[in-house]
Amino acid sequence: MRKIKEFINNFGLPRIIIGLFLLLLFVVAPFVGVKVSTSINDTIVRFGMNSVMVLAMVPMIHSGCGLNFGLPLGIIAGLLGATMSLEAEVHGFAGFMMAIVFATPFALILGWGYGRLLNKVKGGEMMIATYVGFSSVAFMCMMWLLLPFKNPTMVWGYSGRGLRTTISTEGYYLHVLDSFLEIKLGPIVIPTGMLLFFAVLAFGMWAFLHTKTGTAMTAVGSNPVFARASGINIDNIRTLSVIMSTWLGAVGILVYQQSFGFIQLYMGPFYMALPAVSAILIGGASVNKATIPNVIIGTLLFQGILTMTPSVMNSAVHTDMSEVVRIVVSNGMILYALTRKTEATR
């Protein structure tokens, strides 16, 4: 009995509820006529699409900057890379790599500035990160109108200037990762390339955390005063973590686009941070601790719920309550993390 209690305490009640809920959905699914194979397939694809953005949470959590509500900034770097790659008319896998190459300098510069800002506001990072994200999205809205892009697939047809709100990646790098080494198991299609890509990045992150600098980053997040007393330049480590988060955010959105098929500009990136934040929290991370397994489990659970609820609910009660479930689950999880006593000491 005590063991159960301990387990619940360690794992967190909300996580268990969410896990059981997902399990229930999978059990109920066949009875209400939902094809489980399609659901699993969808879950895997959505996992691949979102996992890199969830991974982007890890460095900042490790360095004690809290949850990266400013993910839209990274996404903007990614969008700049994507549009520039399209403008350069590079197609296929090369186009995708080109987008990453173009996005990288923006991610580095924006991340550096963002990191410097967060160093000035230690203790109030999360609120400011949220609004840095929002204002940068709004600022880029103006830029999308003004930047001199010429590629007719991207530019509004009637006025000849300003980018469209959604741009198709078809003919450029649509599914370049998804279809790489694609495996078909009956009804299930596994986007091997995309999963591999995530695996490479996740391995990179794991490896980084095992280096000297990575160790320092974890220590900064665990106890900044200790790290400072051990001669670590906290500000530099934090800035580095923010740059890493921003770059991963940029790559994350590119992975998302190649699978989703569209580049969403303007207000598109606005609320992208919240799902990623709640996914890693569902996976068992806290405001200052996160691991790669947290990323994988969290993304699977969260995306699983997102794919399963609409289909099961629709078939079972003929109502699509998935939106409500999404909002309550994701924000409830964030609230839970923010109000945990042990985590509030930082």
Binding site: M267, F270, Y271, E323
Partner: protein, 156 residues
């Protein structure tokens, strides 16, 4: 002290509820249809429509109804006055007013002017009755937009 506090609070709650009820009554909007049609009463008597009649509720605009006409007033509150001016078969002009209360809970009532004219002193129930709108089934799906709005283009 404690007790006084409790009493005051109870009174306050009662007052607020009373205010709510009052607001419910005086703020209730009703549609009153005024109808000038030949009507068959339950007891079998037939009351003929008036060829022309002038009606007015409260201080709203006067309306002239010909036989088989029907028109509507939108009023607020329960208690109203109806003023009817008609010409009888002797070509004499008559004007009379009646105060009445719309029964609580009804959205739309219909007043049969001929009945009212014929039986000016009859209880309200004889010439005023509930009117139910015929249900027109028009299925037209509406997309619900629940996305968290970003404040773009709002007219705040």
């Amino acid at each position: 002290m404690k007790r006084k506090c409790l009493v005051v609070r109870l009174i306050a709650i009662v007052l607020v509820i009373a205010l709510a009820v009052l607001m419910f009554l005086i703020g209730r909007q009703h549609t009153i249809l005024v109808d000038d049609k030949t009507i068959m009463l339950a007891d079998g008597t037939e009351i003929k429509a008036l060829s022309t009649v002038e009606v007015r509720i409260d201080k709203q605009e006067q309306m002239e109804l010909a036989a088989r006409d029907r028109d509507q007033y939108v009023v607020t509150g329960q208690r109203h006055t109806i003023t009817v001016a008609y010409t009888d078969s002797q070509w004499d002009e008559h004007t009379f007013s009646r105060e009445f209360e719309v029964p609580i809970g009804l959205d739309m009532v219909i007043i049969s002017i001929p009945t009212l004219v014929a039986r000016q002193d009859a209880p309200v129930g004889e010439w005023l009755s509930e009117y139910e709108t015929p249900k027109v089934v028009v299925k037209q799906e509406e997309e619900v937009v629940t996305s968290e709005d970003t404040g773009l283009g709002s007219s705040f």
